[in-house]
Each structure stands twice: as structure tokens, then as C-alpha cells.
């Protein structure tokens, strides 16, 4: 299955991309997606532990199971205002 993964702020800058498509085995979790991401972009490793995750705009945890076509977003600590 394929999911879209979005990155923002320092994560986007560090990886050099705002959005990628990840090919994952069916039933993969958020945690597995992050593992696949880290393999591709080693520089993200130190930033990932502080990032929250959302699937299809709803807060998600590491154990959340992904479905084909899902949008997974990595959300570093926010600083609006």
C-alpha cells in the first residue's frame, strides 16, 4: 500500500521535502512508517522523537494502523502566534 507522508518546519527543511509517498506492507503502523522514513532520511533521527503524528488530520499514536491512501503528518512542537 501507499501512504502520503507530510513534514513541516524543521523536519521539512532537514529532509529537503515537504511530502513523500511511502510504500509499506498492508497493515503497517505509524511506527513502521517512521522507521521507513528514518532509513531514507537519516538526518531526521534526532528530530523524530519530538514530533507528534496525525493520520488524516486526527492525532495518532505509534501503534495506529495505516490504510492505503492515508495522509500521515509529522508535527514538530508548534510555535504559532
Amino acid at each position: 500500500m501507499k501512504i502520503r507522508l507530510k513534514m513541516f518546519a524543521m523536519l521539512r527543511e532537514r529532509s529537503g521535502v515537504g511530502e513523500i509517498v511511502l510504500e509499506l506492507p498492508a497493515g503497517a503502523t505509524v511506527s513502521q512508517a517512521l522507521g521507513a522514513l528514518e532509513k531514507r532520511y537519516g538526518g531526521l533521527a534526532e528530530l523524530l522523537p519530538r514530533a507528534a503524528t496525525a493520520v488524516n488530520l486526527c492525532a495518532a499514536g505509534e501503534a495506529t494502523i495505516l490504510r492505503d491512501g492515508d495522509e500521515l503528518a509529522l508535527i514538530p512542537p508548534v510555535s504559532g502566534g
Binding site: R12, E13, A73, V78, S79, G80, G81
Partner: protein
């Protein structure tokens, strides 16, 4: 009044204070509380802050801003609410965010306004990058009370 009256937006263009005020006016309102968050001048090791560059996850940020307005309505009997945040570059001295709340009386307007800006800073998927006079940029770390 219900949330269909609320004015919730992200925009790249400068904030028009009069347009936001117009959005929360109505004839039952006895008080409007208005908060403008400004880009403040700062220096860091001899460098001047030129401005802030805001990035948002727009779909999520708008959903979160609507949820904050909804929560404010549950807590305080406000008439109308407006929450508008800029994206992209905002020079020093200019507003990056505005919250306005109208109420029959001032108390609920003040309280709702404060609640919305505090929640926005804590929760909404928006990030600011500080742009310095040597061309360098640094992502702002959230600080309490900032």
C-alpha cells in the same frame, strides 16, 4: 449566535484589523475584546531580527482553530469570534495573529479572547522561523509565556 458566524482563517496577506472588527460586530454586542500578536524586534549576538516566516499545516490548523472557537463557545457566552493567523513572511512590527470576541458584556469577550490566543499558541499546527539580518534563519522553540 452559533459558530456559523465565526471568522476563522489563515492568510498570506496582511491582517486588516477593520475587516476582523466588522466580522464580530452585531447589535446585541456590548463589548469586543481584540488581541493582536505582533512580531517584536529582537537582537541575538549582534544580529537584528528582520521578521518571522510562518508555516502552517493548513487543513489541520484550520480544523484546530475551529475546535478552539467551538470550545470557547462552550465555556463563554460569546456572540461572535474571529481567529486569523498569517502565513509566510511577517516583518517586525506587524501583526501575525488576531483574535476578536464579542459579547453582550465585556467579561465573556475578554475571557474568550484570552482563551483562544492561549490555546492557539499551544495547539495549532503553525511554526515560526526567525529571519535574521545576516540572512540566517532559526526555527522558534516554544516558550511558556511568550
Amino acid at each position: 449566535m452559533d459558530e456559523s458566524w465565526d471568522f476563522i482563517a489563515l492568510q498570506a496577506s496582511p491582517i486588516e484589523v477593520t475587516a476582523v472588527l466588522a466580522a464580530v460586530e452585531d447589535e446585541q454586542t456590548g463589548g469586543v475584546a481584540f488581541f493582536l500578536g505582533m512580531t517584536r524586534r529582537e537582537t541575538k549576538s549582534g544580529l537584528e531580527l528582520l521578521g518571522l516566516d510562518y508555516e502552517a499545516y493548513p487543513e489541520m490548523a484550520l480544523r484546530q482553530m475551529r475546535a478552539i472557537a467551538h470550545k470557547a463557545r462552550e465555556k463563554f457566552p460569546v456572540r461572535k469570534l474571529a481567529i486569523v493567523h498569517r502565513t509566510g513572511p511577517v516583518p517586525v512590527g506587524k501583526p501575525s495573529v488576531v483574535v476578536a470576541a464579542s459579547g453582550v458584556h465585556r467579561a465573556e469577550a475578554f475571557e474568550a479572547c484570552r482563551f483562544c490566543i492561549d490555546a492557539l499558541k499551544k495547539e495549532v499546527a503553525i511554526w515560526k522561523k526567525e529571519v535574521w539580518s545576516d540572512g540566517s534563519g532559526s526555527w522558534s522553540e516554544p516558550k511558556s509565556g511568550d
